[in-house]
């Protein structure tokens, strides 16, 4: 009888612990998830800006001069990256309204893609 009581108590405690774990995990995730980061850089679209939206880079190919920074502006709700095929540059995972800039110094065609969605590709032609 005493054993059964202890078993029931253990069972209840375990149940409460599981609910608490799940609840706090969801709360923790939710609290750290600003979809539109306040810290995101405010960048106005320009000739050297490429918008990311609907799982694609708005400009498949962009021509620019050496030393001119190219900025990718993330407008999609899903996270994306900008990663050089030749491993010359790499952004972190960008959330909505975040941006990444890189200035190309050497002439040539620079290919890049999103590491999370490899079918998203683009080219920068520096000349």
């Amino acid at each position: 009888m005493h054993q059964q009581k202890i078993q029931k108590l253990k069972t209840k405690t375990l149940g409460i612990a599981i609910f608490a774990l799940a609840f706090f995990s969801v709360q923790l995730a939710g609290s750290s998830l600003p979809l539109h980061s306040a810290a995101a850089a405010e960048v106005q679209p320009s000739a050297t800006a490429i918008t990311i939206d609907d799982f694609s880079y708005a400009l498949m190919q962009l021509e620019t001069a050496p030393g001119t920074p190219v900025t990718w502006i993330q407008k999609d709700d899903a996270p994306h990256t900008v990663v050089s095929v030749e491993h010359k540059f790499r952004s972190r995972a960008l959330d909505a309204d975040e941006s990444f800039s890189f200035a190309f110094q050497d002439p040539g065609t620079k290919e890049y893609s999103c590491s999370v969605h490899p079918r998203m590709t683009g080219k920068i032609v520096v000349k």
Binding site: S25, A29, L35, F55, A93
Partner: protein, 149 residues
């Protein structure tokens, strides 16, 4: 990428996570359905079916978690996660823990007492289903399968 190149297919970084995740989801949901039927009909065949679904579901969470963590390291170089990616990670770990806990609850009942598992398992299983659904929704959003073509 060549679809018939086995080496490319097996080493396709995060692609394995997307493939493997279907196993614990399907097995666990089937297990929950069997367990609810077993609970209300008191038929041991359904209870056994539920148990074996939970066993394989729990086992299959291991490669899923491993490939998910590998994807984080390979695709994003282990950078600090935020946003949907962090939510997916936390919910995924919670879901995996709940799947393994469900299996363990059934395992203990069968091993120690040979009696019906405790009632609290049913709300835990429902909670796990909700966590799995949320994780899967975010996973679909991250991979892009949810967007209109």
């Amino acid at each position: 990428m060549n679809p018939y190149n086995i080496r490319e297919a097996l080493l396709a970084k995060h692609a394995q996570h997307v493939v493997l995740i279907h196993f614990p989801i399907a097995l666990f949901l089937a297990g929950v359905a069997f367990d609810f039927v077993a609970h209300f009909t008191k038929r041991s065949a359904f209870a056994a079916a539920a148990y074996y679904n939970f066993v394989v579901a729990a086992i299959s969470t291991l490669p899923v978690v491993a490939t998910g963590l590998l994807a984080w390291q390979l695709q994003l170089e282990g950078q600090k996660l935020k946003g949907i990616l962090l939510q997916h990670l936390l919910l995924g770990i919670t879901s995996s823990a709940l799947i393994c806990l469900t299996w363990y609850t059934h395992f203990r009942s069968r091993r120690d007492f040979e009696q019906a598992p405790p009632f609290f398992r049913l709300p835990v299983e429902l909670l796990a289903v909700v966590a799995i659904a949320m994780t899967a929704h975010l996973g679909g959003y991250i991979t892009g399968v949810n967007i209109p073509s």
